[in-house]
């Protein structure tokens, strides 16, 4: 009896490779997805105009010529940075010496949102103690402006171009490396526009 005839046809190689291919695709997805830090979200506001907001000045910084401490109009005309900080924020203390250094060495104005202070003195006292590197500071106790900028934590730093359009967001403390590699080159580029 020629038994060979009862054998099934040889299985298609491709079918055997299918699970391997599926595994490969999943492995790539997981490798990307699981190593991505969901705390460092891409802002959806990049390349959109900074939101319309008005914040009162923090205590001791009131200027009789200005109605508000910080508002959307302050971001038009030149490339500026917007730094979100709070006296309660430890990472902001880490970042602060670098901001003080920038005040001495750089010509980029840094505006600030003093975010979620428990009382009116907390922010001003903190700046008195550690130094004040900011051009303009708005007080944002209930996250009005912070939410408008899509802030998720402090510190965060935005680059806003001459037209008042948000161009970049840095999450976490700024330092010399971030400044030299990313922020300052982008500021220079935006200044040419």
């Amino acid at each position: 009896m020629p038994l060979d005839q009862t054998r099934q046809p040889p299985p298609k190689r491709l079918l055997f490779l299918l699970p391997v291919a599926v595994f490969g695709v999943l492995a790539v997805y997981f490798a990307v997805g699981l190593t991505k830090d969901s705390r460092r979200l891409e802002s959806v506001l990049i390349n959109t105009p900074a939101a319309d907001f008005q914040l009162p000045a923090i205590k001791g910084r009131a200027n009789p010529d200005r109605e508000w401490g910080l508002e959307t109009a302050d971001f038009k005309g030149e490339v500026t940075l917007l730094n979100v900080f709070g006296s309660w924020c430890i990472a902001c203390q880490v970042e602060h010496p670098f901001l003080m250094q920038l005040k001495q060495t750089s010509d980029v104005p840094i505006h600030a949102i003093d975010w979620r202070e428990e009382d009116l003195d907390a922010g001003p006292n903190w700046l008195k103690h550690y130094g004040d590197p900011y051009a303009l500071v708005g007080d944002d106790p209930v996250s009005k402006a912070a939410i408008a900028f899509g802030v998720t934590g402090a510190p965060e730093t935005f680059i806003v171009d001459k037209q008042g359009v948000i161009r970049y967001r840095h999450i976490g403390p700024m330092n010399a490396e971030v400044w030299d590699d990313t922020i300052y080159p982008l500021v220079q580029e935006l200044r040419k526009q």
């Binding site: 009896m1 005839q5 009862t6 099934q8 969901s38 705390r39 979200l41 891409e42 802002s43 959806v44 506001l45 939101a51 979620r116 209930v142 996250s143 912070a146 939410i147 408008a148 900028f149 899509g150 802030v151 998720t152 934590g153």
Partner: protein, 171 residues
């Protein structure tokens, strides 16, 4: 003793019930129960950006509180549920929605599992068909019934073997 146990149990139940219920503070709540209900529903679908696996309705984070207040303020101003959600999404992106929206970039997310199940069923059908075909092939290869001639020969051969066995012939 039993009464005491019951009391402790009841107290624990109460503690947990209130602890997990919600993070909304009394001063945040709206006077209008209909608006408040809408606010609660919207908040339950918005991700807290600080404690990312909680909704802002559950989270005690400060930013979550401010978002809850913002949701309520907008409702009071007359925004529809849709408009409130759109505003928050415009600031934080789709990530802020606990239930991802249906749109081309999320089709894979929504339909991927169904697709995989469908592929599995197709594979099963293919395998069973293949096996069925193989079984039929085996059956068709089965030899035809013996003819009378062959039966006689077989009987004769079997008899022969029996005789050999009985006479003690070597196997």
């Amino acid at each position: 003793m039993i009464a005491r146990r019951f009391l402790i149990g009841a107290m624990l139940a109460w503690t947990f019930a209130t602890a997990t219920a919600f993070a909304v503070e009394p001063d945040e709540m709206l006077d209008d129960p209909v608006l408040e209900e809408r606010a609660r529903e919207i908040s339950a679908g918005l991700r807290c950006l600080v404690c990312q696996n909680q909704s802002i309705d559950d989270s005690n984070a400060q930013l979550a509180k401010d978002l809850r207040v913002l949701v309520r303020e907008r409702l009071v101003e007359g925004d529809s549920d849709e408009q409130v959600l759109d505003y928050v999404v415009s600031r934080y992106g789709d990530f802020v929605l606990l239930k991802p929206p249906m749109k081309p970039s999320t089709y894979l997310l929504w339909f991927g599992p169904i697709l995989i199940v469908a592929l599995g069923i197709l594979a099963l059908i293919a395998i069973f068909r293949q096996r069925g075909a193989a079984m039929i092939a085996v059956e068709s290869l089965a030899p035809a019934a013996l003819s009378d001639d062959e039966k006689n020969r077989l009987a004769a051969l079997l008899d022969e073997t029996d005789t050999i066995d009985k006479t003690g012939g070597s196997a």
